[in-house]
Amino acid sequence: MVNLGINIGDLHFKNPVLTASGTCGYGTELDDFFDVSRLGGIVVKGTTLEPREGNAYPRMAETPSGMLNAVGLQNKGIDYFESNIYPKISGYDTNIIVNVNGSTLDDYISLSERIDRLEKIPAIELNISCPNVKKGGMIFGTNLQSAREVTRAVRAVYTKKLIVKLSPNVTNIVDFAKVVEEEGADSISLINTLLGMAVDINMMKPSLSTVTGGLSGPAIKPVALGMVWQVAKAVKVPVIGMGGIMTASDAIEFFLAGASAVQIGTVTFIDPAAPVKILEGIESYLQRKGFSDIKDIIGYINH
């Protein structure tokens, strides 16, 4: 038997495999493919105070071993979430985490306060790194002072586990990690998408309605791994790694580099059962290598 459990403070995750925000809907969309309660956690779609229509079509472009998206946080807002989604998903036997977004500091604060009251949500993931919205989003995540302020403000009102999700579009990700840790983040997740672009040479125009969008998928895995490694060495709180994980082998790279948990993103579009396959693959890797606890391999390459 292998112990796969990990903790963020006193919040227990039965295993270190979570779905990534914006790539698994609310979990329910995956019900047909596997029992989502088997996962360590589900990070639901980026949520805002007010409903958002997102960006215009086209919002997607395929790139070598990856994709660009420009969804722009389309969601029905917290009221709808509370009354229509929350009741449906609060029965899952896993940690449900809401990905919190805002255009202003007040947005982040009000939304976090609202979610603090939802009994079955033990944690939020503060998204200060969305490249696809004009206001807010990545601005908070690419300016140290803003990152500090938003983390501090949310920490002041949010009583449960606070995960802050960092943007990779910065010169020194470690600076950001340290700042949000100082301000009381219980965990740091990274990376969000890299800013990128594609051009349709037949139409001679940008492939996305927004010109630039967020790059995800295996193409970004090396960047993600490098940042996770740097951050995990620099902070004491657990780090949640993501970016281009397609297989258990990819996920294991993140653990060895220092991640305490992983989030599974874009691969779910291609193989909806990927999260659970990755979970199983991690377990058999540990067995094959003779480890009895996932914690034995976290940050192993630094030993």
């Binding site: 698994c24 969309e29 997102g54 997607m60 395929e62 295996p218 579009f269 291609i270 193989d271």
Partner: protein, 255 residues
Amino acid sequence: MAKCVDDLKVVGNKLLTEDFCVIEVESGKKLPEFRPGQFVQVRIDGSPATFLRRPISIHDVDFGKNRYKMLIQVLGKGTETIYRLKSGDYLNVIHPLGNSFTIPDDKSKILLVGGGCGIAPLLFLGKQLKARGFEPDVLMGFRNSSRVLEIEEYSQIGDVFVTTEDGSLGEKGYVTNHSVLTSVKYDRIYCCGPDSMMKVVAEYSMKNNIFCEVSLENLMACGFGICLCCIVETTRGNICTCTEGPVFNIRELKW
């Protein structure tokens, strides 16, 4: 109707033209209950250029044999890979996806309008309509006679009318110019083809107050509602083509 991932065995690949084929696949399991207008998401292995799955309509179904067909037009790497498949190869799909055309309860006179590869979902639809006692007409538009597809198949459903842009077969011009539209009074039009074609059909239907459903081919990343990339602007806001569509009543669309 649960969606699932399945490995289908290719049992036939009929090459129609240089860039069109009909590929037939078989499941080892009982097929789910497919409805006309639905599609599948096909995994294309073997190229960094085909990272995502490719949406393909269900062209025809043989529930008895757990087989179905797809009509493929080669556009890029993904469709080319499918075109090259041979009997015995396997194809990984997610199916069935999307909503479906509305089968009427009343005794409607129905026209199916397809353009190019867009005729794909209309064969399955036409057969289901016929099975329920309708006698749909089929109107198909192609660029020229060498690109005309599967007339015999569609003749099993009802009368087939053809337009070609150069007049090399059937009437010359676009589908909306075809004389059958003035000679027959249709209650319903179901349409699939290039956006430009669907827009004129939609306009025609609006003007003549005909019930009209179109099937959209928006770019998709997932195909089952989790990425929000495939949206279309509707009277209900931005909604997903892959789950709320691909079939839409034209009155809903902000065209």
